[in-house]
Symmetry: C2
Subunit: 205 residues, 2 copies
DNA sequence: AAGCACTTGTACCGAATTGTACAAAATCAT
DNA sequence: ATGATTTTGTACAATTCGGTACAAGTGCTT
């Protein structure tokens, strides 16, 4: 499989499959089917089979998929068969919550530093982290070789910080600021904005 | 325009347009074009024109769109030309952050209560809110007539809580728990799971 | 007043995505 | 062993989605 040829919409579903598989494994299950997995994640069985088959023939007729094997394959495909270091920029409530979040460890991520530009915050602790100054951020990120950042600064500051992150070599940004970021093509951005997500649902109310 | 006929993918882009328009208005701008708006949000101008034209002819040739008028129309279409009461379930770090979040007010939402099932948390304060017991949640939500909930409980509890929310009349759930929820067709769910979003990007690294 | 530049809304078309259906393989029951 | 059942992977069809192109309206300049 060539990464360039896989549609983004399929890539977007893989983490959902992986998440469901990990839950099944936690329950002690050994195998599953596209039907069962589809019921779990609310996607048609055919869709799941087609998505998975983009990367190889991982199933067995009559039996379905080995949960362990499929999990391993998906982790490899998504490159989370390793641990990625991640930095948090913005030490507000959201940065705080992400720094403490226990849900990264078994999904392939590890927060290694948190930055803020408020001098009065710099130096204070969040859990085990000491908040660092954004002034030194670019060098710190470069020296650690971090490729992933989570951005929880105010919208007004987000574009500037994003530019710095790109300078520092960051290639993936999870943006919590309610603004669309302008970044080079080789940098990926995912957006998390609760108001936007809510507005997407009020349409149907 | 008939709500049933509008593709979900278009509905999903409208809040992004609205967000960009509100930023333009804040800057004092009066009009914009599909080209300019598209540059802001990273979507082609033709796409934006087509999306907007689903709901009427809001632009003017040669001039573009009145920011104020288009904002007003989008707010009406998305039904955020009013304030929706929202409850938070789960008083962990994320529930805490959402309860304090200042970004809801001018986007159509207002947090009115926060619930948790941990007896030792119930009664304590988060900002102006007193954490309430999930045992009384269904009745409280019913009596307040709340239709929207944000779910920040652990994955293991999420499905049970979601069921209760549906019983209470909630029609839209913003789910922060890393699990797919099973809800009736007339209930909408949006998913926010940082690990899933990050995994969607590591594929390209 | 005439020409130019800008911009919308939409018709048309190709690309992307999803659904349907089934042959082939594997397991299970008797 | 044989037939019934389950399930995958994929060919084909249908649908959805996005890009291209342009007529027509608007405002600006000279």
């Amino acid at each position: 499989m060539n990464a360039e040829k896989i549609p983004d919409i399929i890539v977007g579903r893989l983490p959902v499959y992986l998440r469901a598989l990990q839950r099944m494994a936690d329950k002690g299950l050994k195998t599953t089917s596209s039907q069962e997995l589809g019921d779990q994640v609310g996607i048609s069985a055919a869709q799941i089979r087609k998505d998975i088959s983009q990367f190889g023939e991982f199933g067995k007729q009559g039996t379905g998929y080995s949960i362990e094997f499929l999990t391993e394959r998906l982790r490899s495909i998504l490159k989370v068969d390793r641990i990625w270091d991640v930095v948090v920029v913005g030490a507000g409530d959201m940065g705080h919550a992400l720094s403490n979040y226990q849900g990264f460890a078994d999904r392939g991520f590890h927060v290694v530093a948190i930055f803020d530009n408020k001098k009065e915050k710099v130096g204070s602790k969040i859990g085990e982290f000491t908040i660092e100054d954004t002034e030194t951020m670019v060098e710190r990120i470069k020296s650690m070789g971090v490729k992933i950042a989570m951005l929880t600064v105010p919208a007004t500051a987000a574009q500037d910080v994003a530019k710095k992150l790109v300078q520092a070599g960051v290639r993936a940004i999870l943006n919590y600021a309610p603004i669309t970021l302008n970044v080079p093509n080789n940098v990926k951005v995912q957006y998390i904005d609760p108001s936007t997500h809510l507005q997407r649902m009020t349409f149907y109310l």
